[in-house]
């Protein structure tokens, strides 16, 4: 076992250089709430850990064209305290804030939740529903990619060698629009999502749903965008009938597994329930605009 090295670079370029040189044996440390658990359980043996929390641009939340650019190392607690983001994207903020305890919130980051690539990551469906983009920087420069494209399967990402996610861009939100995220866990806190559902929708002046995005977590190898579910909402006033069709579409999209956190049948059924409830919350928020 080689000794692990720890580096805390001050810039993105420095971090990328360190990661690129480490040739796959390096891990990025953001909040560490997953990395340190894996380290402790001997699931990983990194040669190098690159702590990105010292890079100031990764810690910032910056308004941009009506939306917000959120540094990858911004913690759940910091995001939850940001009244601006909370007002515009309440579903994204509530999803991030659901992760773990207050202690975890003080450490866990939006970028970490994304790059850990857990199918049950709470923030990811909400970011997908919000149509968020993330900036990826690597040895070949910077690129923008849809959040939905980052995770490719459990623990797997599309990031190339030496690439890191540096920030996440939440777009401007139109008028009469809102988002919401709900998840199911067996307890009231501290569990991993058994099912997560994010709904983002836009109403027109008459209260008809003009646009919608619905994303599901924990029911497939990675978070799913479900256009069929969104279609159930678009073009109507999101009445009970539409909500039932939404639920059916959400259920139909599920490809879950049986594990200790839930069964296939349970996840599928509850995905429909939560889709309906999350849409109801998003709708109420959009109407109260």
């Amino acid at each position: 076992m080689d000794a692990m090295q720890y580096e805390a670079p001050g810039s993105v370029d420095e971090a990328v250089a360190l990661l690129a040189a480490a040739d796959g044996a390096a891990w990025v440390l953001a909040g560490g709430t997953d990395l340190l658990v894996q380290l402790r359980a001997d699931l990983i043996e990194p040669g190098l850990v690159v702590d990105i929390k010292g890079i100031s641009e990764l810690r910032a939340i910056t308004p941009e064209n009506g939306g917000f650019r959120i540094g990858a190392a911004v913690t759940g607690a910091e995001l939850g305290e940001h009244e601006g983001v909370k007002a515009v994207w309440p579903g994204v903020v509530e999803a991030m804030e659901l992760i773990g305890s207050v202690q975890i919130q003080g450490r866990a980051t939006l970028g970490g939740n994304l790059c850990n690539a857990s199918p049950a990551a709470d923030s990811v469906p909400a970011l997908i529903a919000a149509e968020a983009l993330c900036s990826v920087v690597g040895p070949k420069g910077r690129r923008e990619v849809a959040v939905a494209e980052v995770a490719t399967g459990p623990g797997e990402t599309s990031l190339g060698p030496g690439e890191i996610v540096v920030d996440i861009l939440l777009p401007e939100r139109p008028a009469r629009a809102a988002d919401a995220y709900l998840r199911f866990i067996p307890r009231t806190e501290m569990d991993i999502a058994v099912v997560g559902v994010a709904v983002s929708l836009v109403l027109d002046e008459r209260g008809v749903c003009a646009q919608a995005r619905v994303a599901l977590g924990a029911v497939a190898p990675r978070a799913l965008l479900v256009p069929e579910a969104a279609a159930a909402l678009i073009g109507g006033t999101v009445d009970d009938d539409a909500l039932e069709r939404l639920a059916a579409a959400a259920r139909a999209a599920c490809r879950p597994i049986d594990d200790m956190r839930g069964t296939v049948a349970y996840r599928t059924k509850v995905a429909g329930v939560l889709a309906r409830r999350a849409a109801g919350i998003a709708l109420a928020r959009a109407r109260s605009e």
Binding site: M4, A8, G31, G32, T33, L36, R40, I104, T188, M190
Partner: protein
Amino acid sequence: MAKYHVSTSINDEAVEFLCEPQQTLLDVLRDELQLFGSKEGCSSGDCGACSVMLDGRLVCACLVLGVEAEGRAVETIEGMAKGDQLHPLQQSFLEEAALQCGVCTPGILIAAKALLERNPNPTETEVRYWLAGNLCRCTGYDKIVRSVLAVAEEMRGG
């Protein structure tokens, strides 16, 4: 193994220590600095027995590397009483019997103090959700929650 030299502040005192990069802040507090008040219950951030403040944020010391303490301020249970003066929460936990075995108590006190500094007037539900990251297997939380609510009221009353 090469050790890292870390300069930090623990309970308002400048502290320097050497640690291996994979050692957690909890390992460092306990094994290197002999500060045994922070407890190890799970090493996965699930029990909260190692709760400490890091630059004013409540964290699990088991989910922080020791090297990350460089240049930062750590507060532990050992710093909660000032001289011979117990913090009102400590005093209340004693008076209200808010502990039995006491192993979760340091973490819960640190977490409760962080709550009251942020929200001096929490509801019962807010206290319960704030403390959800601190497992207690003895008390059923009843007397803990009552104690925190009582101290909040007392501190508001001045």
